[in-house]
């Protein structure tokens, strides 16, 4: 049985439609207009034990709503979902002891106290054995390099340090399922890498099932092999991360460094120039034309260095999200 099973899950809700101006504000006291937002539209997917899956989509695509449904924070409008065999929105305590939700913009630690006080409270709430708790706390604080900071009030920690403390609080009870909503949002590059490295290591070691939403493709590329792309509440892609490039990007990039200091003038005939830094240039060329174009370039010019690479995943996904009206059939 899959750890997470979602079938035709949908979530619609009403939002107050406020028109501009004082007259509309006054009228709103007596009669209000509402819009129905279809945050999630009958999505279906399954996730197996030990998988780490990226859940991608632009703002408002339905990612966080889906995570809220899976953590039992909200009820669906229709459809079913089970996580570890439990229906999340029944909020069974047995289920709540076996999963964790980390939201990058929400704080679950006591602001004015050292993080260790929150950890001790978690120990009691989740009924963790004292020796096991200490062992796990030592391990997590070492892995995340915050052992010296657990006695410092949370309000005095940097955002990156706080996020690492949040992760520790979420993992102390050894959840089997971890739902991560933008865990690196707002973090500097060093903190992002620390969190990524930790998550990769810890997930592999514990064989946790992880569903991750992130706008940082670096997170996704570093951590996940599988991606589910959701846009306007619908799943647009569910499969290996590599497949996204094959499927949604018909071009590759050729990076060239010419001899001398200048660039040849007629490079456009070989492909679309995406970056020009003489004597280097980056061209986008249809996949099937790569051998032919490369041969022609090497034949005609003196080239000191050459490289062929995929387009950055970030660009491909951004382009995919921008194609709002275009229907991209799911596999």
């Amino acid at each position: 049985m899959s750890i997470i099973e979602v079938k035709k899950l949908a979530k619609h809700y009403r939002v107050y439609r406020k028109r501009a101006g004082w007259k509309a504000s006054f009228n709103g006291l007596f009669k209000r207009e509402y819009n129905v937002v279809q945050a999630v539209k009958e999505v279906s997917f399954t996730i197996e034990r030990g998988e780490m899956v990226a859940f991608l989509g632009p703002n408002g695509a339905g990612k966080t709503t889906t995570l809220k449904l899976l953590s039992g924070l909200i009820y669906p409008t229709s459809g079913t979902a089970t996580v570890l065999g439990y229906v999340p929105w029944q909020r069974d305590n047995a289920y709540r002891k076996r999963f964790s939700l980390v939201m990058g913009q929400k704080n679950q630690l006591w602001w004015d106290l050292p993080a260790q006080e929150s950890f001790i409270l978690h120990r009691e709430i989740y009924g963790i054995d004292s020796a096991q708790f200490q062992r796990r706390l030592d391990e997590l604080t070492d892995l995340l390099e915050v052992r010296k900071l657990v006695g410092q009030p949370v309000r005095e920690l940097s955002l990156g340090e706080r996020m690492r403390m949040e992760l520790i609080a979420s993992l102390l009870h050894s959840p089997e399922v971890l739902l991560l909503d933008e865990p690196t949002i707002g973090l500097d590059v060093v903190s992002q890498r620390k969190v990524q490295g930790f998550l990769r290591h810890y997930q592999q070691e514990q064989q946790m099932t992880v569903l991750l939403t992130s706008h940082y493709m670096k997170d996704v590329e570093a951590l996940c092999r599988r991606a589910i792309i959701i846009n306007e509440g619908e799943i647009k892609h569910d499969g290996p991360l590599d497949e996204i490039l094959d499927r949604f990007s018909s071009v590759k990039q050729i990076q060239l460094q010419f001899a001398g200091t200048e660039l040849p003038e007629d490079l456009e005939r070989y492909g679309k120039i995406v970056e020009r830094m003489p004597p280097r240039v980056k061209l986008e060329v249809p996949r099937q034309d790569i051998p032919k174009v490369l041969a022609a370039l090497l034949d005609r010019y003196t080239i000191e260095d050459v490289g062929v690479q995929e387009r950055p995943l970030e660009d491909v996904i951004a382009e995919l999200f921008a194609r709002k009206d275009e229907t991209v059939s799911a596999d």
């Binding site: 709540r96 999963f99 106290l113 001790i120």
Partner: protein, 274 residues
């Protein structure tokens, strides 16, 4: 210790630690709370045109000494029943989504809020014990001596009821935020109404009979009037037992309403989004 008790104890301990972080602000707030009682003593002195604690002039069955004693005892009752920030705190957590942690963790929101509040009160009593003792010692001549043991025990129970009823009314108002999101107007109305109906402003038996009878049917009297009236010998033992029994019934009713509001509210919150 059972795991449930361990969780409660841990919430209590952590909340006490949190409360002690801002020492200067807390001590200042504690001391400032004694200022109104000074104005009350002067106010009642002016109303009675009294010359001292022993003045025998009687208004509505209260001497000047009784009124000062009543005001002091109301201050003690309010120290148990007032819940600064509880309603607005719950509403804020609902509005900004902080309430999520209570939905994803195996913890009960009302239980958590209760022990958190107990911690705040315990710290307050410890900090305020000396100023309270000093004020009562300075005003000892306004009291008619110690009541008997049963009345004293009844007073202690009434203070616990004041805390429970105050907590449950204000948490219930906070839970209303599941429907209205903003409850500051409700808090304002409650403060006005409870100032009057709890006996904070005047003893309830000073009010016209029909108003007094009405207020005696409501739970607000337990917030200030009942503890003060017990210490002023207004109840015989049978009436005391009945009053406290009714108070317990109010606690049960309010607890049920809290549970109902939480369950319905969470369902609404969850159905809406957030």
């Amino acid at each position: 210790m059972s795991s449930s008790l361990r969780v409660k104890w841990c919430i209590l301990r952590t909340s006490i630690e949190e409360r002690l972080v801002y020492r200067a602000d807390f001590m200042f707030a504690t001391l400032v709370r004694f200022l109104p009682i000074v104005t009350q003593v002067f106010l009642w002195g002016a109303i009675y045109q009294a010359s001292g604690p022993g003045d025998t002039k009687v208004i509505n069955a209260y001497t000047y000494g009784d009124m000062v004693a009543y005001s002091l005892l109301v201050m003690v009752g309010r120290a148990f029943s007032s819940m600064p920030g509880l309603t607005t705190g719950i509403a804020r957590d609902i509005r900004d989504g902080s309430i999520k942690k209570f939905l994803i963790q195996p913890i009960d929101l009302i239980d958590y809020l209760f022990w958190h509040r107990v911690a705040h009160k315990l710290v307050y009593y410890v900090m305020a014990a000396i100023p309270f003792g000093l004020v009562f010692w300075l005003c000892r001549d306004y009291f008619r001596g110690w009541p008997d043991g049963i009345t004293l025990a009844g007073w202690c129970v009434s203070l616990v009821l004041a805390f429970l009823i105050g907590f449950l009314i204000e948490s219930l108002m906070g839970l209303v935020a599941f429907w209205f999101l903003e409850v500051s107007s409700l808090v304002f109305v409650y403060m006005l109404v409870s100032y009057f109906l709890s006996g904070h402003m005047l003893p309830l038996d000073w009010l016209p009979p029909w108003v007094a009878n009405l207020t005696l049917l409501l739970p607000f009297k337990y917030l200030a009037y009942v503890p003060a009236a017990i210490m002023l010998h207004k109840y015989n033992h049978a009436a005391l037992a009945l009053e406290l029994g009714t108070g317990v019934a109010w606690v049960l009713i309010l607890l049920f309403l809290n549970r109902l509001a939480l369950s319905r509210g969470l369902r609404r919150y969850s159905a809406y989004g957030g």
